[in-house]
Symmetry: C2
Subunit: 400 residues, 2 copies
DNA sequence: GCTACTTACGAAGGAGTGCTTCATTAGTAG
DNA sequence: CTACTAATGAAGCACTCCTTCGTAAGTAGC
């Protein structure tokens, strides 16, 4: 809407190329006729466009399907394998990584345990091992990577500085983007982990298709993230979602109800206490149930504030405690119904622990698409299939 | 980004026409060369485009400026006077209306007092009088109106039903859009008044140019509204901004501190009590100051929740009490600084009581532009200058 | 009042893109 | 082997934009 612009004849071709590419991207192999119908172009024009895309390396022809009437149509598909993306979840206890193609199809996943108090070098080494593992598992090389997207705990600036991280002390004040750019010879994106989680849930998880989503990260640490009007909301200073900082929201200390529950035996290690409480509540232990109720009481206050303020379509419960969503959802819904003007859907995360990694991949895919489909400048010029390796064709054409 | 589409050659012309129209719209009279430079088109093509726009009635030629070197250039301007918009603010005590041209330039304003408990018919009659007044003052006729945009208290659906209104009892459950469509032979838009206020502040008021804005409506009744990523946030069920409904946010009863302040003499009528308290606080009355402090204590809780959650660029203080922003802003800032991760700008409304009317006009302008610049279907076809009156040309061309 | 300079206008010719149309080709069905 | 179906590829046409050039309408200087 804001940046629609006319221009040259070549601009029209560009628009049509992008339109065709998008259709191929979303729908898998298509015949020329099918693509023509989807783009609204005539068949001959579609052919022109596709030929150009093939020459540029964005599209390849695949074998025609047999068994239908008439002359078999040639079929084309988006070359999702012209580049690869890596998503990384840097948590306090684990570094997870996944490698995917340009469609976001995951080809390999790894996990490297880390100690929360590990020094910076150890954590960076774990990141490198996690990515190397993905490359080895998928048989790709470092130079095949186009983008590495990273999710981590804390407030992260748009440039990739970690301003603040309660869970990972070594992180604070670090120029994480610079560290990782030294490690990976490709584009590096950094984002808050909860935000990537909500992105994943809205793309392929519990909130698929919803335009306005509130994500609750409930676990040892509490957090939240927002999708507004289909887009990740970062805020002016990239500090959105930090409602847990407000005492009146009663979020910060809420997990204490689960950690310090009298129903937990003394020999249970502190990091398993909350899980124990939730399990006991599921089994009907009245003491544990009371603790869960108190936790939900507190959780519901901040959640209600978000729901009343934003009127989202879906609220997604994620984070470590969401494994016990069956215990948490009914009382949470009940409390929200008391105060909310309009009750949103309240659902548990369907992606679980891989949420952030998937979100990182979706973030990288979206970043790639944004450049590809941007209607300013020459799209895809900074990265086209031809630009690495053969090195001949770029997107821009006819300059000479 | 999402709906960029290629297509026909005529589509390119359409894009270029819209691009030219937008430049003319934003920048006042332009010469052909200037317009060509802005749109990126060549001069001959720009001429073609402008000729077409003139034929369609969107653009007119104005007298050239004298006194410069060379042959004087012809100048063209957007025909903001090809249609008119009315913005209406339906409050509990007043109905305000303003008439503006398609650029949002206000030509006439009126106000009609109403009693809060007035029956439906009286309020509708006041609306009609307010608009008739604007028409008389500006010398326009009802048929010159393209759009009437209305702001009113309460939760309003996308279709213009009032779901709920605490301030205007007669409103509840009313199909306000239908009532007004009966009254005005043009497009009718309904929106919540706080939302229109924040729109006005973000377009021409205290938050001009900001992408993420939190608007606090503080007055006899408390409310809020959000601009997120430059757009009005409605929420899935049009119920966004209702944080005052949450007891823990301490907003709902906050005005009571000002109404029931012991510093107010008994002979002051109840509706003036809050103003009296604020005035006394400005004069240094210690009792009044305490009441104001308590009010701000409560106000800051809900505000901090919004700021922490959204990390806005600007917070705007509007509503009746914002006339005393000099008394309220310093303590509010001080409290927000204690809890917020990143402190936003906190400013007083610069539009005051006309906020909602201006917002309604901005809303109508935006609605008009959205249709005009929409890149789907044939833009402006539903309303083009030619469509009323002469009735010959429409936007679409070359169909036969 | 005349000439030189500056800037804009308008027409002509050329290139690129998309559309329609039609004969041709490569399969399946009987 | 023939009839039918659906995709292919080439030809001709229409539209939009670009570049180039000669012309027109002002101001500045003499």
């Amino acid at each position: 809407m804001t940046n629609l612009r006319g221009g040259d004849l070549s601009r029209l071709r560009q628009l049509n190329s992008l339109s065709a590419l998008r259709e191929l991207r979303g729908a898998g192999p298509l015949t020329l006729s099918a693509l023509a119908e989807r783009t609204g172009l005539s068949r001959p024009s579609t052919k022109d466009v596709v030929d150009e895309l093939i020459e540029l390396g964005w599209v390849v022809e695949v074998a025609p399907t047999a068994g239908s009437m008439g002359r078999p149509a040639r079929r084309y598909r988006f070359r999702a394998d012209s580049g690869y993306l890596v998503g990384i979840d840097i948590g306090a206890h684990n570094v997870r990584a996944a490698l995917a193609d340009l469609d976001g199809e995951v080809l390999a996943e790894t996990r490297q345990p880390v100690l929360p108090e590990a020094p910076l070098a150890d954590r960076l080494a774990a990141i490198e091992r996690a990515v190397d593992g993905c490359l080895a598992l998928s048989g790709k090389r470092m130079t095949d990577l186009w983008t590495v997207a990273v999710g981590t705990n804390g407030v992260v600036t748009r440039e990739g500085h970690v301003v603040f991280s309660a869970a990972i002390p070594a992180w604070r004040g670090l120029d994480l983007a610079a560290e990782l750019r030294r490690m990976f010879p490709c584009e590096v994106l950094i984002e808050n982990d909860s935000r990537l989680a909500v992105l994943a849930e809205s793309k392929r998880g519990a909130a698929r298709g919803a335009g306005d989503v509130v994500f609750l990260h409930i676990g040892r640490r509490m957090g939240s993230a927002l999708i507004i009007d289909g887009k990740l909301h970062r805020g002016y200073g990239a500090a959105a979602g930090e409602i847990a900082m407000l005492p009146e929201a009663r979020w910060f200390d809420a997990p204490e109800h689960l950690h310090a529950c009298p129903a937990v035996p003394a020999d249970v290690p502190p990091e398993d206490a909350a899980g124990h409480t939730l399990a006991a509540a599921r089994d009907g232990d009245p003491v544990a149930l009371t603790c869960v109720e108190r936790f939900v009481d507190d959780l519901a206050v901040g959640t209600a504030a978000m729901v009343l303020l934003l009127d989202p379509e879906v609220v997604v419960l994620g984070g470590g405690f969401s494994r016990s969503a069956d215990v948490l959802l009914p009382p949470l819904r009940e409390r929200l119904e008391r105060v909310c003007m309009r009750m949103p859907e309240v659902r548990a995360s369907t992606l679980g622990e891989e949420c952030v990694v998937f979100g990182a991949i979706e973030y990288a895919v979206a970043h790639h698409d944004r450049h590809l489909f941007a209607d300013d400048g020459d799209p895809g010029a900074q990265r086209s299939p031809g630009s690495s390796g053969h090195g001949s064709p770029t997107w821009t054409r006819g300059t000479g």
